[in-house]
């Protein structure tokens, strides 16, 4: 690390305590109407203000630290509950608290008529707290505390309307998949404590930096560590094997999907990898694994999103596919590109989800886009916001999506060559196609259902956050202009300064970069136009061919999981335990009891009751004994 590391003491724990206090208060007191919501938003906003203060400290200080207290310590495991803030994480902090506050404000009016608001906002604040713990804690084990805390909050929030069974089941599915992912994190922690002796990120970095000790490590340690962290990231950020929970997570209220399943929680996987980047930088095989998994996720999710009818499901699959983009950037060895896309994605995906929420709110909880249509006139503000969101995500020129996606595409081109670039470009085209499909189906042509006629615009408190987010998703891109146009590479400076150097792939000359940018823009514009042509008038009753069915039923992945993994495991386990417990051990036990009873009954045969037979038996006994004595 070139510049001298002056670590500044900072009250980071305050950022966490504020939303925690909000959660506690909301939990305890059920205030009337929207007061709970406002209380939660206030606390979140306070956290936002404090994080801005910390953000401003950054040019001088290279890292903020708050030692916190010793959580637990036994044998070789020492868990310190301390907090630290690196430059790039402070940006993420702003996203979490900033977008979080907007979403809290939006949720206050969105949930205004719900009967248990206090519980909702308690969970929401609890979520923000655990997300902050995840982002801020200095030790990996603290990160894990936030990691699982976030998992529990998403379980509680997805299953918030617990009356319907399917919500509760969706919550369980989310928690279980996250739990399977967290096993990876646990393994990483075990390896860290066993081989690095500590789980604090800075401690591990020193261990890696010092060549002497790094050489002493068995060769597999770093690879296993990186793979375990990636497995946990797959669980949390919904990559190929463990993405199944995200589409079902739409069962929760829309602000939840916006906050958790778009902006903050799903990006935690990338945050951890970027923080531990020096380890990943050295593991080329792991990076290629990450790249190909991410690429296939992006493609698969994009394909699945093509035929979805439920507006939120479309956005859910698009989130999975955008996360695929971010991980692809990581796989291509460019943490800056990945993190930049995290930021831009947080803005426009939150915007898209919130607009979808206001649309559904206006349409009295009707989610099916085939039944919508013609909402342009009825919900003008939502329409504008949704359009901006689509434009940004599709990557139209000069929007934030354009810059971040283009950066990823160039980085992928540099390190993974044309094949990787081509597939990712295809995914990008699919993204803009299905986004504009959903746009035209909801907003253009004529209303197709009773609710569509009477759709009403949402209240101001919902529109204001939308407008702020749309401005953000338009202009946040300007922070990282490609170096040919100007030297305002604010972002990469941020990320590199916190220790995440990009892997030096062969730099691409400016000309090819121009070419790549041109191809990307033309591709997204073309697919948008294609969507316009196809869906201008309304839903096209496409023939139920095999490909369509495959995509609509999500490639039957859920069914495959159930029939090949979940059901057999449960079946084998339960009947195994049934057989062994009930019949095996209990059997032997009852057998032994039964044997006592049987011998008892045998003995009673001799008690015929007649005195004479007793005397006879006694004499017989005597003779037998006498005989034995004589013979022996």
């Amino acid at each position: 690390m070139t510049d001298v590391l002056n670590i500044v003491e900072a009250p980071l724990s305050w950022i966490i305590l504020l939303p925690a206090a909000g959660a506690l208060l909301n939990g305890l007191f059920r205030l009337k109407s929207t007061l709970n919501g406002l209380l939660a938003t206030a606390f979140c906003f306070a956290a936002f203000v404090v994080s801005i203060l910390q953000f401003l400290k950054f040019p001088e200080a290279s890292k903020l630290a708050d030692p916190g207290y010793l959580w637990f310590q036994a044998g070789h495991v020492k868990a310190q509950m301390g907090f630290e803030l690196t430059p790039f994480m402070s940006v993420m902090l702003l996203i979490i608290t900033g977008v979080g506050t907007l979403i809290h404000l939006y949720a206050t009016s969105y949930m205004s008529h719900d009967k248990s608001q206090a519980r909702f906002f308690a969970y929401l604040n609890l979520f923000v707290t655990s997300m902050l713990v995840l982002a801020l804690s200095s030790d990996l084990i603290g990160v894990f505390l936030g990691w699982e805390g976030v998992g529990v909050c998403s379980y509680l929030l997805i299953g918030f309307w617990f009356e319907e069974d399917k919500n509760a089941r969706a919550g369980i599915k989310a928690f279980m998949t996250n739990r399977v992912g967290d096993l990876g994190f646990l393994v990483a922690l075990f390896v860290a404590f066993a081989y690095f002796g500590t789980s604090s990120v800075s401690g591990i970095m020193e261990w890696i930096a010092d060549p002497g000790r790094a050489a002493a490590l068995p060769v597999w340690v770093l690879t296993v560590f990186a793979l375990a962290i990636f497995w946990a990231a797959c669980g949390k950020s919904a990559q190929i094997p463990l993405y199944i929970w995200l589409p079902d997570a739409m069962a929760g209220p829309t602000p939840v999907s916006a906050l958790i399943h778009a902006a903050t929680m799903v990006t935690s996987g990338i945050l951890v990898i970027v923080r531990l980047w020096p380890i990943f930088a050295t593991q080329t095989e792991v990076l290629s694994v990450i790249f190909w998994v991410a690429l296939s996720t992006a493609l698969l999710a994009a394909l699945m999103a093509l035929t979805q009818r439920d507006l939120k499901k479309v956005l859910a699959y698009s989130t999975v596919s955008q996360l695929g983009f971010m991980f692809a950037a990581l796989g291509a060895g460019a943490p800056t590109a990945a993190f930049f896309h995290v930021v831009t994605h947080a803005c426009f995906k939150a915007l898209l989800f919130l607009t979808a929420g206001s649309v559904i709110h206006g349409m009295h909880d009707e989610k099916d886009i085939f039944k919508m249509g013609g909402l342009r006139k009825k919900m003008p503000w939502s329409h504008v916001a949704y359009l901006v969101g689509c434009v940004a995500i599709a990557g139209f020129p000069f929007t934030s999506g354009f810059f971040s996606k283009d950066l990823i595409l160039t980085k992928v081109f540099e390190s993974r060559g044309v094949l990787g670039y081509g597939l990712l470009l295809l995914a990008a085209m699919l993204t803009s196609f299905y986004m504009f499909r959903s746009y035209f189906l909801t907003f253009s042509s004529t209303p197709r259902s009773h609710e569509a006629e009477h759709a009403h615009e949402s209240s101001a408190m919902m529109i204001v956050p939308l407008m702020i987010l749309s401005l953000l998703s338009l202009f946040v891109g300007w922070l990282e202009i490609p170096h040919m146009w100007g030297h305002l590479q604010y972002f990469s400076h941020w990320v590199e300064s916190s220790g995440a150097k990009a892997v030096e792939g062969h730099e691409v000359e400016a000309a090819t970069e121009w070419l790549l940018m041109g191809i990307a823009t033309i591709a997204s514009l073309a697919s948008a136009f294609f969507a316009y042509v196809k869906y201008k008038k309304g839903p096209v009753t496409s023939s139920e061919n095999f490909a369509w069915k495959l995509s609509f039923n999500k490639f039957y992945v859920d069914e495959i999981y159930d029939s090949f993994i979940l059901k057999p495991l449960r079946k084998i386990g339960t009947c195994l335990s049934l057989w062994i417990d009930e019949y095996g051990v209990n059997g032997t036990l009852h057998g032994s009891f039964a044997s006592y009873r049987i011998t008892g009954q045998l003995a009673s045969i001799f008690h015929t009751g007649s005195v004479q037979s007793y005397a006879l038996l006694m004499l017989l006994g005597l003779l037998v004994v006498w005989g034995v004595v004589n013979v022996w």
Binding site: T608, A615, L616
Partner: protein
């Protein structure tokens, strides 16, 4: 020829066995009791014989006690039989099965 001692001993054996047989097979309680008296006599015979052989009074004293016990036992048993007869009307041993386990 067999000596006196052996003759007396064999008589005692016969008496004892016949007493046992009567006790086992007789269906009337009183006769069963007689069987017991027979067995006791068999024992007395052996005791007397031993007393004579060793020329001391132990044999005789034991016989005396045995006889006394036999008398007490007979008295009590028979009065019990009387009650049983009154209560159950019969004295055949098969009917008294209350001990059945």
């Amino acid at each position: 020829m067999i000596a006196t001692g052996q003759l007396i001993f064999s008589v005692a054996i016969f008496l004892f066995c016949f007493g046992a047989l009567t006790f086992f097979t007789k269906r009337s309680a009183v006769v069963a009791l007689m069987g017991i008296e027979l067995m006791l006599n068999g024992v007395n015979l052996v005791l007397v014989q031993a007393g004579q052989i060793y020329k001391n009074a132990e044999g005789t004293s034991l016989v005396l006690f045995v006889t006394l016990v036999a008398a007490a036992e007979a008295a009590l048993a028979l009065s019990i039989f009387v009650i049983l007869y009154r209560k159950y009307g019969t004295l055949t041993l098969e009917n008294f099965r209350s001990l059945k386990g």
